[in-house]
Symmetry: C2
Subunit: 110 residues, 2 copies
DNA sequence: TTGCAAGTCTTGCTACGCAAGATTAGGTTC
DNA sequence: GAACCTAATCTTGCGTAGCAAGACTTGCAA
């Protein structure tokens, strides 16, 4: 309840780079990403993922490719681009720095 | 530049609890908090802090108190409430859990 | 042909952080 | 005592992210 509200806000700005990190291992399609991210507690529903993928597509962070699936409608597989890899690197540094500051504050408050 | 955009989004949902953590050591007033948070890279300007403090006030997370200052207009000192302390505890757990997930993904992507 | 299931996308909403500037209060200087 | 400066608080308007709920599409199977 209240924990979900906290998590929802924390996810902002993180999700995009989690997708990039997942794609750095190889192509994945939408629902596959959604299931993985849901398991990890990084999204609450697909309602955040598909709009995000569209944005990342427009920004050239990922490259999509249609492929027929065994059952059901075709899947759109995404691959990370060079730009995407650069962004992931940049994020890793910002995340480490900001995370350290937050941890320092939380440590100090006990 | 691009790092600032990344940080701006990362800060969402974190700032509120950084304020609580700072107040857990004792009362502080607005500009004092702003200077501290700016130094730590947790806000970009006071434009995020004052609206946040107003929200936290309304939600009963902090308790304000006016006090005349040596020079200039009076200061509004904030103290953390019991509710605020509870929220801080809840955040600490969500942060640890979500942070671990993100770190796992980033580790795996190298 | 009806139904079902996998998969993608859309709509409307809420909330946060930010830049820029408005506003208030008190002190200082001539 | 008027003009000016500074500390400090607050306001306005904006862009954008995540989410719930559901619509739409594609193919297969009864």
């Amino acid at each position: 309840m209240t924990d979900e509200r906290i998590a929802t806000n924390l996810r902002k700005g993180v999700l995009e780079y989690c997708v990039l990190a997942l794609l750095s291992h190889g192509e994945k399609y939408g629902l596959e990403l959604a299931d993985d991210l849901t398991t990890r507690g990084l999204i609450a529903s697909e309602g955040s993922l598909y709009p995000l993928l569209a944005r990342m597509r427009e920004n050239g962070l990922v490259e999509p490719r249609w492929e027929a699936s065994g059952a059901g409608r075709p899947r759109r597989y995404y691959a990370i681009t060079d730009t995407g890899t650069e962004q992931l690197t940049a994020f890793t540094q910002v995340w480490a720095s900001l995370g350290a500051q937050v941890n320092a504050l939380l440590e100090g408050s006990r």
